[in-house]
């Protein structure tokens, strides 16, 4: 094996590691809201969450918190209010977070589920979240330190994760990220987004809702992006690819 080949293999290893270190995935087909959605959070609360109102306020606050999606650097990408979810429907254009499951689809071993609705063209028309309230739930209002938690799931963390799906983000292989596909009971870690989650939101929503981020390769394959990173074939060798180069350009 020649010296040049060894060097090249070393570069490959670095590039491969860098590639998998930030590995958010967007839902397919790629889709976004045309403006920040306002989720209606079920004002009936969750049975068994003893924080004064069944976790509804905590859930609403977690979704819009600056430590979650709205603090990811893309501006306000999601809003939420507490209100009635009567007339819940997946096709009405009104995103709702329901602490019950009127769809009847999230029974048994399902904890929570997100359903997104869209027409062709990549715009989300509706995205609703349902909950299986037969499982054991808690909140930071009920148990801020986790000392009283036993096999319960923090509603804030689960719903920030589900809201990420509602915004168009899939799972990541980055441990510790909100969108990592594994959750533990008595752990509210997913309520705080990590760098990988933030990269996903910026890929989708850029500067505050619908814009193409300066570090995005959307529409820029083969060129340099405004942020200085590259979207061309050679960026893999130079290590200066934009975060979504492979998703956008292959």
């Amino acid at each position: 094996m020649t010296k040049k080949t060894l060097i090249a293999l070393g570069v490959l290893a670095v590039v491969a590691f860098a590639t998998t270190a930030s590995a958010y995935v967007l839902l397919s087909p790629r889709r976004t809201w045309s403006s920040p959605p306002t989720y209606i959070v079920d004002n009936r609360g969750l049975t068994g969450v003893n924080d004064g109102n069944g976790g509804e306020t905590r859930t609403r606050n977690a979704i819009v918190s600056s430590i979650a999606w709205n603090g990811a650097g893309a501006g306000t990408v999601i809003n939420a209010v507490v209100g009635s979810v009567s007339g819940f429907s997946l096709g009405d254009g009104v995103p709702m977070l329901n602490f019950r499951d009127p769809t009847g689809q999230c029974g048994g071993n399902c904890l929570a589920a997100t359903f997104t609705g869209f027409f062709s063209g990549g715009t989300i028309f509706d995205a609703d979240i349902v909950t299986n309230n037969s499982h054991s739930w808690t909140s930071m209002g009920e148990d801020p330190g986790g000392s009283g938690c036993s096999g319960e799931f923090y509603i804030e963390g689960v719903m920030v994760h589900e809201a990420g799906h509602g915004l168009g983000i899939g799972h990541t292989n980055v441990g510790g990220a909100t969108m990592f596909p594994s959750v533990s009971s008595c752990n509210n870690g997913p309520a705080s987004t990590a760098a990988d989650d933030e990269a996903a939101i910026n890929d989708l929503y850029g500067g505050g809702g619908g814009g193409i981020p300066a570090n995005s390769c959307q529409g820029r394959c083969g060129q340099q992006a405004p942020a200085g990173c590259w979207c061309d074939f050679a960026c893999q060798f130079y290590g200066d690819c934009c975060p979504n180069k492979f998703q956008q350009c292959g």
């Binding site: 040049k4 090249a8 570069v11 490959l12 590039v15 491969a16 590639t19 998998t20 590995a23 995935v25 967007l26 839902l27 397919s28 819940f88 429907s89 997946l90 096709g91 009127p102 769809t103 689809q105 999230c106 048994g108 071993n109 399902c110 904890l111 929570a112 589920a113 997100t114 359903f115 997104t116 609705g117 869209f118 027409f119 062709s120 028309f125 499982h135 096999g151 799931f153 689960v158 994760h161 589900e162 799906h165 899939g170 799972h171 990541t172 292989n173 596909p181 594994s182 959750v183 533990s184 009971s185 008595c186 074939f233 050679a234 893999q236 060798f237 492979f246 292959g250």
Partner: protein, 192 residues
């Protein structure tokens, strides 16, 4: 600075390796893990079959788009079932509008599957898949062997019933999966 021919050659190798890096699947639901014995215990039948038709429509309440697949049953692994069954899943496309429930199982035309199924309840006409994505395996040919691949690969979040993260099920030979299912039914004392 490398010459252009070396740059392209190296970049080509890099591109190949990067392309091989598995992307995390997209997902949208969280499920509590169920292992084979639990799936068998919760099911009315476990079958191997082929999807021969799929239709999507708004459900009876008009609240969600569902799909119903007609499955030709090739092997009744445990339990009793007809030779053809209809199985309902959530999501589909109607009139240009698509609802996706990432993480939930889907059934595609011509797909070969092993399904853990529950009989229709009162007022229902179609079977449901036990355990959501955990109750469906895709049967594929790999190196001359029939392999059963779990649907959890499609990106569901799994949590252990004891509270920690769960280990997703792995692909196994179709024969091994059937053996495990029959063994579980036998251990459970089920008259299958």
């Amino acid at each position: 600075m490398m010459y252009w021919n070396e740059r392209f050659r190296t970049a080509g190798v890099i591109a190949l390796l990067v392309a091989l890096a598995a992307a995390a699947p997209a997902s949208g639901a969280t499920f509590i893990d169920m292992e084979i014995p639990e799936l068998v215990a919760a099911s009315d039948a476990v079958i191997e079959g082929r999807v021969v038709d799929v239709q999507s429509f708004w459900d009876e309440k008009g609240a969600v788009i569902v799909s119903e697949a007609t499955v030709q049953v090739d092997d009744k692994i445990v339990g009793k079932s007809e030779d053809w069954i209809r199985v309902r899943t959530v999501g589909g496309e109607v009139g240009g509008y698509t609802i996706q429930a990432p993480g939930f199982p889907t059934l595609d035309l011509d797909e070969r599957v092993v399904l853990f199924v529950q009989r229709p309840g009162d007022g229902e006409e179609a079977f449901r898949i036990t355990g959501h994505p955990l109750g469906k395996y895709r049967v594929v040919e790999d190196g001359g062997e029939q392999i059963a691949r779990p649907s959890v690969d499609d990106g569901a979040v799994l949590v252990s019933p004891r509270g920690g993260p769960a280990t997703a099920p792995r692909a196994l030979s179709l024969d091994r999966l059937k053996e495990d299912v029959r063994d579980a039914a036998s251990l459970l004392g089920l008259n299958r």
